[in-house]
Symmetry: C2
Subunit: 382 residues, 2 copies
């Protein structure tokens, strides 16, 4: 049905009406006093969301651009880096590191499984010459719905002492507790179309004091993505280059909404939606790709064995106007992913699960008790 | 007065209501078939606007990012480049070139004056070893309202044969005739918040076949800004990274509006608004920064000698809710700039000029006949 579209993918995520209407306001000059006030308010909100006293820098880039900025500002050609790789996005950070001439060592795990923290400990402990300059980790791997154990890996990085920890928090920030200052995370990158509840078009990078020290000697070439320029402008409630004014109107509105809800409530909601989705999928006797103990709170990947994933997505889209994500690369056609990231409520999960049940019945798959999915989800949400 | 703001700066430029409302639509998945159709329509519109058969690539970056992409994709460290420099933005392209290790030779002119085309001819003719790999030119220098003679400089580049011509058309594209294929321009960069009539947040790069050949051997590191990735995705009506979905809704709407108006009408309108503005400024006995024969159709810079530029801007902003741009760097406080770029009509110019007259009278500057500015502008517009 026209205009009845419901987004249940891990990005772009649903956008509140308040944010859409804020974005529809006419832009003002980005060098005006009025816009400086908006920048100042946004910067405070970003620090709150990131649980940090350090600067959080806003760039006109996608999440990949934010992650690239997080890598190239703190390293030099030939630097040795460890990259955790267990999905499409973590693979990409290895590609970026290679494109910029870093010496990349990949610690990989099967797609759908979490990274083995012990492998990081072993590599870092063995590096007595302190040659490893950075460990690059995807916290929530959006392509598989796996949450890597960032806290433990970061502990080993801290024991190493020299290496920076560079984190892709694109689908964990605002969906899972990432206490940047408490954990001492050095570089944390994220993108607007995820937990931020605004459309795509902005990337964010939080930077620690230790990372800024590395910045001073880092030699990879940069200009548009030179975070030093953003830091300098930030101090004057400004930006080095023209910012995406209307997206920032939206960000101002969404940060206000998030602050009214409160960080703990936001994290609890994402945890609740995740558990409800997983309970429902199990009750429907479908397989979950990621194990329970490393479930991302951004998306749940389902790997149905006796019913076709693409057929499920097709009916969900055509008949119920619900967009689910498919699998990427070698998981294409083998999984579907239910997003529960950002502006998603308990009602949305029950809606998606009941439509999923109806879809399964239509496809002749009835290997579950009537209303089993909705019941299981309702029990978690109650 | 609240919400009565009128933008008369050379970016962000005024945005039509149709575009604002298009942007307020809920995003859809950027990997969906429906979004592919939007990408396809936009790509056709961009080719039309750029007067080219070649690909025009859309990036989530500001104009500076687009220009950086236009430089780093086609050159290698140590490459010799000629950079024309006569304002804030052309200066920036020299800085980018230096940041990426190019051998930069600057051909400069005073701010407010056009580049001397003969200097380019001399340098290019003398380069019999064909060491010059690119000539980097800002077509319309937004900071001073000067239009450089791109057509003539490009002729000398074509006679040279080896060098690419890389053009910042940020405030000329959609405001002045830039026939990319007819002139054989190799790389043309622009930004959304200008002639495109949409808010900031997107950058565009048109690339010639000759430039794509240079791309194959160009060695500067790149990933997020790797235009080859954009070209490959473009061929499938897709994007390599998450695009700014809502801005693209706006771009789709604005390209439709532009196509209804027609390229010739758009250029004629910008020329008319420019001439009307300049005639009015002269009638008000204020000095124009740029000479008549190199006037940018994006903005007119006024350098008042006996009345304070910042006072004029202050009254225009506070009393008449009209935002004019100030001077940048050493021109700060010495000039003000009237934008007539993008979604600006004859009525807007008469409005701005009559308010400017009232402002001058309030400041005790009455060195002109009553209504001289409006009369002069009206005569051009009639």
């Amino acid at each position: 049905m026209e205009d009845k579209h419901m987004l249940m993918i891990p990005g772009p995520t649903p956008v509140p009406e308040k944010v859409l209407l804020a974005m529809a306001q006419h832009p003002i000059g980005h060098r005006s006093g009025d816009f400086s006030k908006i920048i100042a308010e946004i910067n405070q909100g970003l620090k709150w969301l990131h649980q940090t006293k350090n600067e959080v820098l806003s760039l006109t880039v996608s999440g990949t651009g934010a992650m690239e900025a997080g890598i190239i500002n703190f390293l030099s050609p030939g630097d040795r880096v460890l990259v955790g790789s267990n999905g499409k996005f973590s693979d990409r950070w290895a590609q970026i590191s290679e494109a910029f001439g870093l010496k990349v060592e990949i610690i990989s795990a099967e797609w759908g499984k979490p990274l083995d923290t012990e492998e990081f400990r072993t590599k870092l402990t063995a590096d007595t010459n302190k040659e490893i300059k950075a460990v690059i980790i995807t916290h929530s791997e959006t392509s598989t719905g796996v949450l890597n154990d960032l806290e433990t890996i970061n502990k080993y990085v801290k024991e190493h002492g020299e290496a920076l920890i560079i984190v892709d928090a694109v689908t964990s920030l605002g969906a899972y507790n990432v206490p940047i200052d408490e954990w001492g995370l050095d570089v944390v990158a994220s993108g607007s179309q995820k937990g931020y509840m605004i459309p795509p078009g902005m990337g964010f990078v939080a930077v620690s004091d230790k990372a800024w020290k590395a910045y001073e000697t880092a030699k990879l070439p940069r200009f548009y993505m030179d975070l030093g320029k953003y830091k300098k402008a930030n101090a004057k409630d400004s930006t080095p280059f023209t910012p995406p004014v209307n997206l920032m109107y939206g960000l101002q509105a969404s940060l206000q909404m998030m602050q009214r809800e409160g960080l703990e409530n936001i994290f609890a909601r994402h945890e609740r939606l995740t558990q409800a989705t997983r309970a429902a999928v199990k009750a429907l006797r479908l397989d979950l790709l990621a194990p329970d103990d490393c479930a991302s709170t951004a998306a749940t990947a389902v790997a149905p064995s006796s019913v076709d994933a693409e057929q499920i997505r097709g009916i969900m889209r055509k008949k119920y106007d619900i967009a689910l994500a498919g699998g990427q690369d070698h998981l294409k056609g083998k999984i579907f992913r239910i997003g529960h990231l950002g502006f998603v409520s308990d009602r949305d999960i029950l809606t998606a699960i009941s439509c999923l049940e109806a879809t399964l019945i239509e496809l002749g798959y009835e290997d579950f008790a009537s209303k089993a999915g909705v019941k299981a989800a309702a029990k978690v949400l109650a």
